[in-house]
Symmetry: C2
DNA sequence: GCCTACAAGTTGTCTGTACTAGTCGGAATG
DNA sequence: CATTCCGACTAGTACAGACAACTTGTAGGC
């Protein structure tokens, strides 16, 4: 987009814009590389690089000899959107909210120190927050940070904004994360905060986030109300779209009736 | 690998081989593009294309100016592996098993017909199977097929092999699928088959599979024991690895103790 | 009218060159 | 001895040209 960014990135941004605004309709053929080259006044390389990026995200498809076609638009959430509850909610047009349940400093147990790759008994910061969508409880988030990183949070206004935003302004930028998804039964704290029955099924996402140097900056355990959020992946033989978090339409369950 | 396949694909295969066999160790630097060009006797293009493919799958990482490094090997499951329980288990070195609970033909209810995009009261085939890993119950799978597709299964040996394999030999090939992941409480059938308490949390994956023409060929509802399987996604600012299904190490939960 | 063969157009692939931006290690410096 | 600085090296970007593989629409033949 910027003048300084590489040419292929600008072409990519322009093409995404054309797809999003419908200049290139789903099912339509994308203009040929030759005409794009003529239009943008570049060589074929950057154009192909931009098209390859679109293709990698499933926005277009193409075979040899045939012009690529615009696919049904897969949203393709960015890293930030996937990492940050706040960003995610905003993108969906929902109002994110949060209530801090606990923000504490404590020495790391052996398990926690292993997760965070620090020495046992080193201080860590634990933050437990209830996350809301449009004012309704949606997720309970427990995060652990090494003290050096978490200390920026203890003094911050956690009820106001995103943890990630706060960390980024403090110079701690997550660039890599690993998410493990499974299901767990609601524990007392979730019963209280999410207003569910004891033992109710919750969708759990455990997250390990790393900074650019590869050091662990956060380990987290998010527990979603299944009715409020689900995860979606679209799959094809040629291509796999990245995992996407979806706001929960508590839709009809085909099989509940059958049993 | 083949002589006929494109050069960059052969280079890619060779590089993957070197990473898998440990010629290029994780954490090591990959030889510079220049030396690869010299070794393979090609120009820089195909080498960079192969490296880009490795990078897209998260196997290497690189910044400008610095030689790329081999990352911890993320397995990168293929479409088939992700679709088929049988394939997935085999790839992990586990023995997949199945027991058919029910295989029936019935008219579609309104909900089912909507899912399968067929007329109400059209016959459908429903198959309920218990899936095993190393002989232990791992997942309960309920699949619905339009009759024209499902009829191939009613006569097949479902206890022996994969549904997808059977369908493929009958000329029905899934090429696209959409998976929605959430959590549900165990119902009576799961209590009985998976040996869990009533209401126990299960990891649910609902799947809609399409063939090359875009017609729905299956809708399914898989319910995993969280201890037996989880889903993993690795994430970075530059790149997102596709979702991966992982066999469940019933590992320690950091937070269970804390509550 | 239907099918086949061909020609034009398009994408995939590969080579070669050149420049820019960034990294890395060793030499010079304090 | 630690730090800084600089030069060599590396990857990212871009351009130009050429050929191969494939699709598609058209013109011709049956």
């Amino acid at each position: 987009m910027t003048d300084s960014s590489p040419l292929h990135a600008r072409l990519y941004a322009e093409m995404v814009h054309r797809i999003r605004t419908g200049v290139w309709q789903p099912g339509d053929r994308v203009p040929s590389e030759k005409s794009l080259v003529a239009e943008f006044g570049t060589s074929r390389g950057p154009v192909r690089q931009a098209l390859a990026a679109l293709r990698a995200e499933g926005m277009i498809s193409g075979r040899r000899g045939a012009p690529p076609r615009v696919q049904r638009t897969a949203p393709a959430q960015s890293f930030d959107t996937f990492m940050s509850f706040t960003e995610w909610a905003r993108e969906l047009g929902l109002v994110p909210g949060q209530r801090v349940i606990e923000a504490s400093r404590r020495p790391a147990t052996e398990d926690i120190s292993r997760e965070l790759q620090i020495e046992p008994d080193t201080p860590v910061v634990e933050i437990i927050r209830l996350r809301l969508l449009d004012g309704k409880p949606a997720m309970l988030e427990r995060s652990l940070f090494p003290y050096e990183i978490g200390r920026h949070l203890l003094s911050a206004d956690l009820d106001g904004g995103s943890i990630y935003q706060t960390l980024c302004t403090a110079g701690v930028v997550p660039v890599r994360a690993r998410h493990v998804i499974d299901a767990v039964a609601a524990h007392p704290l979730e019963v209280e905060q999410l207003h569910v029955q004891p033992g109710a099924p919750l969708l759990r996402v455990r997250r390990l986030a790393y900074d650019v140097l590869g050091t662990v900056i956060e380990t987290a355990d998010d527990r979603y109300l299944p009715a409020m959020a689900t995860f979606v992946v679209e799959n094809s033989a040629e291509h796999r779209t990245p995992l996407t978090r979806q706001a929960g339409s508590a839709d009809v369950d085909l099989f509940d009736r059958a049993l």
